[in-house]
């Protein structure tokens, strides 16, 4: 530690070079921070404690097939089930059919099963009292500059009303705030309407539920409960498939893209480049200082302490740039979530990512510092001072 000053001074001996290298390192770790956040969010999709307690029951045939409403009461009877709710995909769009919104027609107790969504008591009551009421996620409100109490025209891309028109009108009763501010992505963009209003208005639903959501009393019994629920409709014409929300989300995400593979290959390309770059900088730095290193050796520094100093210098360079890069990624993450309208909702940089990032910084520092450090250690004083 007492040589810190010396290491710092030698690192910034050539300011331009060090700063230019730093910017490259910052860019690489900024990318690392962002991509790792995306990867984590995809990996952890649905993996919250709440997600493990909830089961999703859908038609075994396909996700577009609805289930009879009578099933709800029977699921409620299954031992280990605490609460059951149901919802339908509404397929809402605002202004343009391609401007789609996550919108569900939900049962009255839907919010009870999702403690992640918080709605004020007054607004929740207003929603319950308004047949055409909707609850809208905070982000969605901002996106379209909506206000509570406003009447908004929507289209359903799937369900017409009895006259055949796909135009629906809703009154905004309240705002859904996400309990967890950071990972708000999905709930932020959600719109919930009354299932009863939906079912009354469209002739195509005929009292069916799109899927059931069940909260289990004991997480460890979740698999057994899921099997028991599927057994209810075995061999009927509406067989079900029940999964924990965790498993359902994971397999859904996987259908969109193999995010892990993409991220890993991009990061591979980035870090390979980075190693070459900072390695080059370190080589230059040590080559330039051959003289000084020789002087240090002359006044009694051992070969190993020179080795340690060069390695420390390269570690300092990488860690400095890397930490700045990941810190820069933090404020950008919510911006990405916003820009993609919840399609990609990276989670904030986790402790695990920080750990991985730091490990990467040190590893790269070791790799790029090794050769110059070795040279510094083996330096022959006479040759170096004579510039041979």
């Amino acid at each position: 530690m007492k040589y810190m000053h010396l290491i710092w001074a030698s690192l910034f001996r050539r300011k331009t070079r060090t700063i230019l290298t730093l910017v490259s390192i910052v860019a690489a770790f900024l990318l690392f921070g962002l991509l790792d956040a995306v990867r984590t969010s995809f990996e952890q999709a649905g993996q919250s404690a709440n997600g493990a307690q909830r089961l999703q029951t859908g038609s075994r045939l396909s996700f577009i097939q609805a289930l009879p409403q009578s099933l709800g009461a029977r699921i409620q009877q299954v031992p280990g089930v605490k609460a059951v709710t149901y919802a339908n995909w509404f397929g809402g769009a605002y202004q343009d059919p391609h401007n789609q919104i996550f919108s569900f027609a939900v049962a009255p107790n839907y919010l009870d099963l999702y403690p992640e969504m918080s709605v004020s008591d007054a607004e929740r009551k207003a929603f319950a009292d308004t047949r055409t009421g909707v609850l809208v996620g905070e982000g969605l409100m901002q996106r379209f500059h909506w206000k509570v109490g406003e009447r908004v025209p929507m289209q359903s891309t799937i369900f017409p009303d009895r006259s055949g028109s796909k135009n629906w009108v809703f009154d905004i009763s309240g705002v859904i705030h996400s309990a967890d501010k950071k990972g708000a992505g999905f709930f932020d963009q959600l719109m919930l309407l009354h299932w009863s209003y939906f079912d009354d208005t469209t002739p195509y639903n005929r009292g069916q539920a799109g899927w059931y959501v069940t909260r289990v009393t004991d997480v460890n019994q979740a698999d057994a409960v899921a099997k028991a629920i599927d057994a209810l409709s075995a061999n009927s014409d509406h067989e079900t498939r029940t999964q924990t929300e965790q498993a359902a989300t994971a397999s859904w995400v996987k259908q969109f893209a193999n995010v892990g593979l993409i991220v890993t290959s991009v990061m591979g390309a980035v870090f390979f480049t980075l190693m070459l770059l900072s390695g080059n900088t370190m080589m230059q730095a040590v080559r330039e200082r051959t003289n000084e290193l020789a002087v240090l050796k002359t006044i009694g520094f051992s070969g190993t302490s020179l080795l340690a100093m060069v390695l420390a210098e390269s570690a300092l360079l990488l860690v400095l740039g890397g930490v700045i890069g990941i810190l820069l990624a933090e404020p950008l993450i919510p911006a990405i979530s916003k820009a993609s309208r919840g399609m990609v909702a990276p989670s904030p940089v986790s402790l695990g990512s920080w750990g991985e990032g730091l490990a990467l910084m040190l590893l790269i520092a070791l790799l790029v510092g090794a050769l110059p450090a070795w040279r510094a250690m083996r330096l022959n004083i006479v040759d170096a001072l004579a510039r041979r």
Binding site: T21, A28, A93, Y204, Q255, A257, V270, L274, N280
Partner: protein, 438 residues
Amino acid sequence: MKIGMILLLVLLVLVTLVAWVLLPWQGALGLAVLVGAWLASTRPGRRAASVSAVGISTLGQRLGSSAVIVVGIAGVVGVLVAMLAMAEGYGEMLRKTGSADTAIVLRGASSAEVTSGLDRDSIVQIAQTPGIARDARGEPLASPELVVAANLPLKDATGDEQGSVQLRGVSDAAWAVRPQVRVVDGQRFKPGLRQLLVGRGAARQFAGLVPGHDIRLGSQTWTVAGVFASGDALESEIWADADVVAGTYERGSSRNSVTVRLADARGFAAFKAALDANPQLKIDASTTIDYFSKQSEGMSTFIRAIGIIIGGIMAVGAMFGALNTMFAAVAARAREIATLRAIGFAGLPVVVAILLETMLLALAGGVLGGALAWLLFNGYAASTMAAGSVGKLSFELHVTAGVLWQGLKWALAIGFIGGLFPAVRAATMPVTTALREL
């Protein structure tokens, strides 16, 4: 360097970049020819050429630091080209599915086939609309089709993981409307039976889609009769008899869409006008090429945006790497450059020479990155949940000439910025200082 000078340079860089982005390849070629002519025929040009020749001939001695530019830029271009190729391949797969001489009719205000629904009467009326081609027996070539989703086990599944595949219920007319569909293994399904004809792409992704094999859809058992190929997005689907599918999914006599073959390739406007003139129909018609292009737009833009963001951040890294290398190169040659200026060379040839050297390295990086991306990813099979469909769409990455050109443009832009600042520093450094500097 003075602050005002730097600001001026940054401004110049911005203007150049905007112009560069807008420049088509013909323009770039013209520019290259102009620069070449200037180098070969004018006095300052020939001087610049000779200074660059010296720089380039010493590249071998600076292999390590030159490699930083080449590899850095190759990385950027490789990633960018791969992402753009993905967007390209995806869009192409959907666009290929459509053609100008077939039209698809959906219920009004439907964003996609799967969310549309047409009743029996509408279907009959649509089929009788003038402008549709007719077969040898005088029947209109109109194929009412049912589109639903089916859950099937994935090939690379862990546990009992399932994926969604688009199941299309068709009648005999489908074969005439879609002549690109041909059976490559087994045979077509038999009408009235629970048999499937599966697309080649679907067979690649889902387990058990082999002719003769039985699979379960919900509580029913279906037999795979054959495999078809069509070279487009349909390949990711599985097909069966529309009436049998309607029974399984309780759709009665309603269908999702009607696809028709037009009598005349330019007859769409007339066909649409005839449909719109029918007061009993509430429908939207578009040519299939329009329909599928629109479906692919959102996702293609999304993939492209991701590629450009990632590529952009990487480009910043590579650019500073290039700056670093070139500043070092200029510093190493400071005496030599100062000598040139002392004996009467103007600043311009020096600037041009260093820019040329950097951009040459950048070009090498761009070519390397593009070539790597082409080798590794051209034809690479990917799949995603397609917009406007309910099944996984398998497609191949396609590294097109346009995509490669885009990558080269980025490479040259990075090289330009990376070389400009060191070049200007070399040209403006006071000769006396430079000559004294070690």
